[in-house]
């Protein structure tokens, strides 16, 4: 494999505590190296910013609901198609890009690892086919567990060991990465025409509460010692006053400690926190409760969060929170699609326009920025747009601009039609902090990698780690004259290396690398009861047989990378 040396760049690497020092980064055999031979290809990064490849912790980029969005929104591809160019295959789509465009766009912005945030287990095969067709970036997928009949039945009796055995089995057959929970109990309740809007609302028939599901899944997660923590989209998303449900959910993790060999310290990851930090009683007195939520997270070190920044675009919302999407189509009257997934989950899709002239959208924008600006530890707060729910991931450079420049935030605030309302209902106007490049590297690299249990693999530039490197045409030594330059620099990298292969040069794709599928292989002791339950459910309820369930072999996972976990000792 080729050797490279990236010379004289301003390096930002939280893993080694490097804060902009001018250093050379050596790449050899796909890994970051101490030194390379004199024949190494030299990349001149003088006056540029060098970071590890960024890590996406939560995006909807593969699977049936993403594809449903593509199918039922041909207008999303209108005027957004890119023809074949050099190594790039054609792509299209703005909020729900094609698989190829997804891979290229992430890579061009310096992202080298991404997690699909909600895989319905029954459609794991479809999800993996899309992951396979998304070039360059390493990807993993989180199967959803929060409304799964096995989980509901086991946890009703607090059978943590059985839940853990089932999780281990499901991660193996679906090639999944982590335990994802979406509106615990609420999505199943919706099949009965109901929802769970608080952590204590009972789930019909199953006689269990969201609180019991969440606590039980954290316990099972730590029983197994999985790389990532339980990853939750709590109940009551997106409603005025929902922050109370969010705090109730966060409190469920109190006293719980992470047990794993991957260096992860958190037991709960709260995703798209923006959607869960709303106060008020209706859309008229809607206000930010970012302070209340971040105050709690700041104090409780066993929680990590991501932001879910609203980017003020037309986008496509999609979530396994079926009842929420039905509620949303009632609000905006735009087309709605829904899919029930048998014993496991369901999903809905609705287009949405975050208009700067609507006060609620502008307040949502502000809340998304308040959260990272109020979080004291950037190693526990990661930047996302909950792609495509709050905005497309291709807007990360714009979010970075808003975070790094108060001037850019003020320009946007002044452009809002209901500026006064934004300032009275949030505290965005009084937040002066400008995120530094080091903090940005924590929020987009080292932090998410650590939370995902990938700290030894990616998110840093320590020798021995994967050579995922992004070089931005951004000089940290010169003051930023125009915030637009931040957005421009982070939109298109000067160079990107994925596992030591140069994949982007001057913003263009020059290689497709050796894309991997990350999954977690857990060894557990034999559990005949769980195996019998699985057989029975397939015979009795599933519309397919077990033989057609597993995402197996080269067709679905051509280049797997398994994180091995041994839970047989417990």
């Amino acid at each position: 494999m080729s050797e490279y040396i990236i010379k004289n760049g301003n390096v930002f690497d939280p893993v080694q505590g490097i804060k902009g020092d001018k250093k050379d980064i050596a790449i050899k055999d796909g890994k970051i190296a101490d030194k390379v031979s004199s024949s190494a290809k030299v990349i001149d990064a003088k006056g540029m910013t060098v970071m590890a490849g960024a890590v996406e912790i939560h995006a909807h980029i593969a699977g049936p609901k993403v594809n449903l969005g593509r199918i039922y929104r041909p207008e999303d591809k209108l005027f957004s198609c890119t023809p074949t160019k050099g190594m790039e295959r054609m792509g299209g789509g703005a909020s729900i890009p094609t698989t190829f465009k997804t891979g290229y766009e992430y890579a061009k912005m310096g992202y080298t690892t991404a997690m699909e945030a909600a895989m319905p287990p029954l459609f794991a095969r479809h999800t993996h086919e899309e992951i396979r067709d998304t070039p360059i970036i390493d990807e993993g997928a989180f199967p959803v567990f929060g409304n799964n009949w096995f989980v509901l039945e086991y946890l009703k009796n607090h059978e943590v060991e059985n839940t853990a055995a089932y999780i281990a089995w499901l991660l193996r057959v679906t090639k999944g990465y982590a335990v994802k929970v979406v509106n615990p109990g609420g999505t199943e309740a919706w099949a009965w025409g109901l929802n769970c809007l608080s952590v204590n609302d009972p789930v019909p028939y199953f006689d269990i509460t969201p609180a019991e599901i969440v606590k039980g899944l954290i316990e099972a997660n730590e029983y197994l010692g999985l790389p990532h923590s339980m990853h939750i989209h709590p109940n009551n998303l997106g409603n005025p006053g929902c922050y109370e449900t969010t705090l109730d959910t966060l409190k469920l993790a109190e006293g719980m400690k992470a047990k794993n060999k991957f260096g992860r310290e958190s037991v709960m990851h709260l995703t798209h926190t923006q959607f869960h930090s709303y106060g008020g009683t209706n859309w008229g007195d809607f206000e930010s409760k970012a302070k209340e939520v971040t105050d709690y997270v700041n104090k409780n070190k066993n929680i990590t969060i991501d932001t879910g920044n609203v980017t003020l675009d037309e986008t496509t919302t999609m979530t396994a929170d079926g009842p929420f999407e039905h509620h949303l189509t009632g609000l905006n009257h735009l087309k709605w699609a829904n899919c029930d997934v048998e014993l496991e989950t369901c999903a809905g899709v609705v287009p949405y326009i975050y208009s700067p002239s609507i006060s609620v959208c502008a307040i949502q924008w502000a809340i998304g920025l308040e959260i990272p600006l109020m979080m004291k530890d950037p190693m526990r707060c990661f930047i996302t747009t909950d792609h495509p729910n709050a905005g497309p991931f291709t807007r990360y450079p714009r979010v970075i601009k808003w975070l790094m420049s108060k001037k850019a935030r003020d320009t946007q605030i002044n452009a809002f039609k209901h500026k006064d309302k934004v300032l009275s209902q949030t505290s965005i106007g009084s937040l002066d902090h400008e995120v530094t490049l080091y903090e940005l590297a924590q929020m987009t690299r080292a932090g998410p990698a650590k939370s995902l249990g990938l700290a030894n693999l990616c998110g840093g530039l320590k020798p021995g780690m994967d050579a995922d490197v992004a070089v931005y045409n951004f000089n940290p030594d010169t003051p930023v004259a125009d915030p637009e330059n931040i957005e421009k620099a982070f939109s298109r990298c000067a160079h990107v290396f994925k596992s030591g292969v140069e994949v982007v040069k001057n913003g263009e794709i020059v290689g497709t690398g050796h894309k991997r599928t990350l999954w977690v292989n857990v060894k557990v002791n034999d559990n005949p009861q769980v195996m019998r339950d699985i057989n029975e459910k397939f015979l009795k309820y599933y519309s397919i047989t077990q033989a057609n369930y597993e995402a197996l072999g080269h067709h679905f996972v051509p280049n797997p990378y398994a994180l091995e976990v041994d839970a047989t000792h417990v």
């Binding site: 039922y72 929104r73 041909p74 207008e75 999303d76 209108l78 009257h333 735009l334 087309k335």
Partner: protein, 266 residues
């Protein structure tokens, strides 16, 4: 105003996508430069000059530019797409998407036009002297935002699904229309001087339809609301008034529910 005349001399074997033929894209260019603008035939990109003979230079701006399209352009799509100002005259019949997404200016098609003319039109004026195809002034596939502004006049007949998801603007059809008129519309006005067979105003939330001729089958969601004397397009007459579509959600304005209006000349 400067005039550029483009004459088809080498008709394409496949359909030609000529979305660059607009006053906006011609503005500030000489005939030679205009000839270099790109067009697509199938998956091949080539130049406008390969198919058309171009004479005359464009004005400095779109508003100062008039384009006359001559020759057989029956296999040319997207003429006048996204035009914002200036004038265009298409002397013969042409294919789909004429004046689609146009925001201003004046476009005159002397022959027939195929489907999707004036898709999501926002402003300007489109006159079709022949017949219009299906989906005139409608929304793009999947979209919920049809024609929102501007004026369309069709001197002949129009096809089906016209004004689908219309939200504003005005269409006048001198002849007949086919099924599905102003389906899902949330505003705008369509005047049909001839007949409309059926599915008139299905799932319509707001907006107005006038039918001078006959309607074979009324939608069950429209409710009779008396008769009114009106002057429409210079014609004074009595119209039967219907409101609907009763099966749909409707906005409220000052406490009163706003329905779509359908007027049929008696």
């Amino acid at each position: 105003m400067e005039t550029v005349t483009i004459t088809m001399k080498n008709p394409p074997a496949l359909y030609l996508e000529a979305d660059n033929v607009t006053p906006d894209n011609f503005a500030g260019k000489t005939a030679a430069k205009i000839a270099e603008l790109s067009v697509h035939e199938g998956n091949t990109t080539s130049t406008l000059g390969k198919y058309f003979e171009i004479s005359g230079n464009a004005g400095a701006t779109a508003a100062d530019t008039k384009i006359i399209v001559k020759g057989d352009v029956k296999k040319v799509k997207y003429l006048g797409m996204k035009m914002s100002a200036g004038e265009m005259v298409i002397e013969g019949s042409t294919d789909q998407y004429v004046g689609a997404w146009m925001t201003g200016g004046k476009l005159l098609a002397k022959g027939n036009v195929e489907a999707f003319a004036a898709t999501a039109m926002k402003g300007g004026e489109l006159i079709i002297e022949g017949n219009a195809g299906n989906y005139l002034g409608a929304a793009y596939r999947g979209d919920w935002r049809g024609m929102s502004g501007g004026k369309i006049l069709v001197k002949g007949n129009a096809g089906s699904d016209i004004g689908m998801y219309m939200t504003g603007g005005e269409m006048v059809i001198n002849g007949n229309v086919d099924v599905h008129l102003m389906t899902h519309a949330e505003g705008g006005k369509t005047i049909v001087k001839g007949n409309a067979p059926s599915k008139v105003g299905g799932q319509m939330v707001d907006g107005t339809i006038f039918i001078f001729g006959s309607i074979d089958t009324m939608m069950p969601g429209f409710k009779p609301n008396g008769e009114v004397e009106l002057e429409v397009e210079g014609v004074k007459a009595t119209f039967a008034h219907y409101i609907g579509d009763m099966g749909e959600r409707h906005k409220k304005k000052k406490g009163a529910v706003v329905y779509a209006n359908l007027y049929k000349k008696i």
